[in-house]
């Protein structure tokens, strides 16, 4: 999991497996955004889920949001080696600048 007292988490999986990563946040947010950062690159948005949504899908990605527990998850089904990256959740603290979580490193082996 990201945030709070959690350290940076690393997951190693085989291609084709599914993976789920979690994120918890401390302050009110209007959205949770999930970003992926590949080595040597800047973050790129994967999915945005608003506070009035419980689930959002985009291709192989599925994000959930539970505002009561202030937590979100990102699942990737049928992972590929190209999914290897660090995944960050980010919140906007009620419409302010994005604040990123500590990140989850996902390594997908061919």
């Amino acid at each position: 999991s990201q945030w709070g007292e959690e350290n940076l988490q690393a997951l190693s999986i085989q291609e084709g497996e599914d993976v789920t990563m979690n994120c918890s946040y401390k302050t009110y947010t209007t959205v949770v955004q999930w970003y992926r950062q590949k080595s040597g690159k800047g973050p790129a948005q994967l999915i945005l889920i608003r506070s009035n949504e419980r689930e959002k899908r985009s291709g192989r990605l599925r994000a959930t949001l539970d505002t009561s527990s202030q937590s979100s998850s990102l699942s990737i089904t049928g992972t590929l080696a190209t999914d290897t990256a660090v995944y960050f959740c980010a919140t906007d603290q009620g419409g302010r600048a994005l604040i990123f979580g500590t990140g989850t490193t996902v390594s997908v082996s061919p």
Binding site: T30, G40, L98, F100
Partner: protein
């Protein structure tokens, strides 16, 4: 897709010297940001700039830091003087609205202070 360009990609500078990091945001975006990332760690927010002014800044945005975007030119982050702990990758980002919309990031400038 929309691109944020950062120049240079890598800068090495002597401690105490001034450095300016340049960013060319997405053309119709109004909100600009700088983030700092030490190798292998999380992205840390520095500053948000809108309509010629700093809107928000974090504790990491020290007095030695300044930002500006003179009309039609780069959005810049200036550090004067630099310190060893300023070594990091600095990411510029832009968005059409505040945090509840997609934010586009550049590839970063790796700053090494020696």
């Amino acid at each position: 897709g929309p691109k944020v360009l950062q120049i240079p990609s890598h800068q090495i500078i002597d401690m105490g010297q001034m450095v300016t990091l340049n960013c060319d945001p997405v053309s119709n975006h109004l909100y600009f940001y700088w983030y700092k990332q030490i190798l292998g760690q999380q992205m840390e927010f520095l500053v948000n700039f809108y309509n010629g002014k700093v809107m928000e800044k974090s504790k990491l945005f020290k007095d030695q830091f300044s930002v500006e975007r003179p009309d039609g030119s780069y959005f810049t982050l200036k550090i004067q003087p630099t310190a060893l702990e300023d070594s990091a990758v600095y990411f510029c980002a832009s968005s059409s609205d505040r945090g509840n919309t997609e934010v586009f990031f550049g590839k970063g400038t790796r700053l090494t202070v020696v």
